[in-house]
Symmetry: C2
Subunit: 90 residues, 2 copies
Amino acid sequence: MARVVVDVMLKPEILDPQGQAVQRALPRLGFEGVADVRQGKRFELELAGPVDEAALERVREMARTFLANTVIEDFRVRVAEEVEEEGVGR
Amino acid sequence: MARVVVDVMLKPEILDPQGQAVQRALPRLGFEGVADVRQGKRFELELAGPVDEAALERVREMARTFLANTVIEDFRVRVAEEVEEEGVGR
């Protein structure tokens, strides 16, 4: 089984109140030096078949029509790399 | 300014009703062959200073204490790569 990741983030010109709330909370918690925070969604899809260009195009179509609201959000589709699977929880 | 990404996902053993709802909706929308979907959060932090090991350790501390609930969630901290910035909206 192959894993494909879809990252969905608000477009840069769209206000992100969730991210702002996180950014404003950080100094109160003792964390300085974070100039901006944006919060978005991450989908991990396990595909039953091979991850070829046709499969990735299908996932892009899912993202375009369903996972993201392309009026206000950008999305990015990529194959999960093995190296990404390391370091979980660190 | 350097960008650091924090991915927060439910631990594999924790039920993910959001991801399940997405997975069940896909066949109805004409998308077959997706065996599993997990939905999580992605934070993009712009750091004011250099992204050295000390800065990454601070971000890990933020993730551990604030961005993730480590009872039920895993997190992963990494520097955003330039290549990731390509292909937005594709």
